[in-house]
Amino acid sequence: MDENLLYRSVGARIRQARERTVPPMSQTKLAKKLVISRISIVNIEAGKQRAPLHLLWRIAEAVGTDLPLLIPRQTELLAEVAPVTLDALTVARIEAVATDDPETRRQLANFIGKVRARPTAEEVTSKS
């Protein structure tokens, strides 16, 4: 398993949850709430610092979410580098929405391809 990827992914979710509070909570404010330094928050969100479980739990609480939502599923991490292939029907559906916008077309194809390339829960279990 790519541990750096895991911590980057958790960090990105923390950042997203923090920015979603109403009003959006600053890194400074979150740091104060947790009685840790702002630099720690910066590094945790960037995946450069590995927060222990109890801190993650408190972060989740502070930004008003549940801890499981800050942690990616196994299948999500495994799919990060999978190639994209799509069937004709999917391509047609993307085309109907994207019309003349190549950027939208590319982004939709990426997302759908990434999701479909993910192994199922059973596949993950049998691999490990």
Partner: protein, 186 residues
Amino acid sequence: MRYISKDAMEESTWQLLATTESARLPVPIELVADRIGLRVEAAPLGSGVSGLLVIEGDRGTIGYNEEHPYVRQRFSIAHELAHWVLHRNDPDSPDLFIDSTRYVSVYLRDEQSSTGEKKREVQANMFAAALLMPERLLRREISGPDFDSLDEEEMCAELATRFQVSHQAMSLRLATLGILLPAESE
């Protein structure tokens, strides 16, 4: 395509909130999705796309536009969740829903297939509105003392903040429920 009455829609969204222990303000829509086994992810989708639902058998993944305003993202998630709950078992339903901000042009292109699709979109919007703005919670909020001195406009704005939805979505919902009259312009 099944017809679903307005009352049935209110009831089933309320049941969903109850079983996922999410009947609170603002409705934790990502938690609802998580608890019924859906994945939810922010993604770059192009400005014309608000959200999509990818169905693979019993797995469902919702993607929403990472650049849209938060209240819009919440509605997009609720809308895709609605497709999952209402439409995934329809024999004529696709296994991929892409919801763009330009529905109309998409529909006009193919009259034949558009009827079922359009109905599904209307249902998904109704379901999403009922899920994010449950009638019971709305009426409970309105009956509180804070609303006595507010005019309709201020009331709508305050409710939109409490429920974390757009002003437009709240205004439409209040009109649908007969709580406020529809806005004159627009």
